[in-house]
């Protein structure tokens, strides 16, 4: 569970790096936060958000894997298996 909390903190930091007004909601997210309804990201913004997460977590999330993702918790579960990896590729970006 603490793993999931860690992941959500990192998701929030990525969200905080996005353009306003999305960035302003970064502090309020938890596992139940809906990406479309609460964060009000449209389909394109979701794709850009995921691309930033892929860099942060040094992973690849195929677009079709997103079809079942509704909440931040769903996203965390998608990202969690790759957690132990260092994020050297993300450095400097």
């Amino acid at each position: 569970m603490s793993d999931q909390a860690d992941v959500i903190v990192r998701i929030a930091s990525v969200l905080g790096g996005m353009a306003d007004p999305v960035a302003q909601r970064a502090g309020e997210i938890d596992a139940e936060t809906s990406i479309v309804r609460d964060l009000k990201l449209d389909s394109l913004a979701v794709m850009d958000f995921v691309m930033a997460l892929e860099t942060e977590f040094d992973t690849v999330i195929p677009i079709d894997a997103l079809s079942g993702v509704e909440t931040i918790g769903d996203l965390a579960r998608l990202l969690q298996p790759t957690l132990p990896r260092p994020t050297h590729a993300a450095a400097g970006r």
Binding site: D48, V60, I63
Partner: protein, 415 residues
């Protein structure tokens, strides 16, 4: 049925209230590649993708008219079910020869070329790696393929390399009797919204390291870039690293249609596997003949490309000097970044009032949700036309407070 588009409808209504409706522009008459009649007045066209101005080229019109007369208005069917015309095969051979490839396949539009090629090449066990700023036709083709699709950061070979590494780590050994999973990288020569250019040499290097395949969509760069007009692949000198070249006839060649050219063994199998090729009517002979003549002109005459490059530079430098924020590269697509959709709409309307037509490009069709005034130059724009456009754009930009006034105005204001 259309209730789901309520948000779209609301956004459209908001746009309409700010001025003229950009989606309802209907030219009464095309006067030339650079001028049309709109609401009873001539307007300067600065957003047509008519890069070489060939839509009114006399020899293209004559070739198309002769074919129209000889072979009729349409083919009334698909290549696969209703037969290929000699002209289709001849144009395929001409394109293959022009690009130095073994084979080329025609599609009825450029959109269908990407749809048919990506869905035909990639299957559910393959990975498609798309530049994030790819055209909608690439995304749609990728989705139709059933392959695993990932976007890499726009023009970022390092992010592409990182993704290929991760996909390689995840790859499972190929089971006996199964076809191995392949990785296909997709990039564009010139990106249609910002006019920037792919770092193709670096991307080709990543392709070599990873043993992947590479497709380059030269929609906006064919006939535009390269000493011989062969596109960015020619400029970057990486023809051996590019497996598939996609292009369109509707921009520099002034017609309509698309193609894919390749040296891949058995490339022709796509004719039996690509649904966007198989299940649509083939190009009419008049279009094929006009495009064939246009391609011949591209091969024979480099001067229009030089004029195009000079015009692009004139517009880019003029707008930069006026203080606008443009894309990172000088190319025939010059886009002005504006702070938001409302300002863009106001600007676009004022420009049309001043007799200049450009493209209004708004999110979600733009990268990073930018609001853009997108312009594209032609080889047949005169220097005077470009200067007139720069002056008009700069004047409106100053009126709207988006760029600083001229130095004379500034010093007058300081006094």
């Amino acid at each position: 049925m259309l209730e789901k588009y309520a948000d779209l409808q609301a956004a459209y209504a908001r746009l309409g209230s700010g001025g003229r409706n950009p989606f309802s522009v209907a030219f009464e008459q095309m006067l030339s590649p650079t001028e049309a009649m709109l609401n009873g007045r001539p307007v300067l066209l600065l957003g047509t993708n008519n890069y070489l101005g060939l839509t009114f080229e006399r020899s293209c019109i004559e070739a198309a008219a002769a074919a129209l007369d000889a072979e009729g208005t349409g083919t009334t069917g698909s290549r696969i079910a209703n037969g290929t015309y000699g002209r289709h095969a001849a144009l395929e051979a001409q394109i293959a020869g022009f690009l130095g490839r073994r084979e080329a396949m025609l599609f009825t539009t450029g959109y269908q070329a990407n749809l048919g090629v990506l869905a035909g090449l990639a299957g559910r066990d393959d990975n498609l790696l798309l530049d994030a700023d790819s055209h909608a036709s690439i995304y749609d083709g990728a989705r139709l393929s059933g392959a695993r699709v990932t976007r890499f950061r726009h023009n970022d070979p390092e992010d592409l390399r990182r993704r290929l590494r991760i996909l390689d780590e995840r790859a499972e050994p190929t089971q006996p009797g199964r076809v191995p999973s392949r990785n296909l990288i997709v990039v564009e020569g010139i990106y249609s919204m910002m006019g920037d250019i792919a770092p193709l040499a670096e991307i080709a290097a990543v392709r070599r390291e990873a043993g992947a395949y590479l497709l380059v969509d030269e929609a906006h760069s064919l006939g535009v870039l390269g000493e011989r007009g062969r596109g960015l692949v020619e400029v970057a000198g990486v023809e051996a690293d590019v497996d598939f070249i996609v292009g369109t006839f509707s921009k520099s060649l002034g017609g309509i249609g698309g193609f894919c050219a390749s040296d891949a063994p058995d490339f022709g199998l796509l004719r039996l596997a690509s649904r966007a090729y198989m299940f649509t009517a083939s190009l009419p002979s008049s279009v094929v003949a006009g495009v064939s003549r246009a391609l011949q002109l591209v091969e024979e005459q480099p001067a229009p490309r030089w004029r195009l490059a000079r015009n692009a530079e004139r517009l880019y430098c003029g707008l930069t000097a006026a203080g606008f924020q443009l894309g990172p590269t000088v190319s025939p697509i010059v886009s002005i970044r504006l702070p938001g959709p409302e300002v863009a709409m106001t600007f676009w309307t004022a420009l049309l009032e001043a007799g200049i037509y450009v493209n209004l490009a708004l999110p979600p069709a733009t990268p990073d949700s930018k609001s853009l005034l997108r312009t594209s130059v032609s080889a047949v724009h005169s220097a005077a036309q470009i200067d007139r456009a720069v002056d008009a754009i700069a004047g409106i930009g100053r009126t709207l407070g988006l760029v600083p006034g001229s130095s004379a105005e500034l010093s007058a204001a300081a006094d």
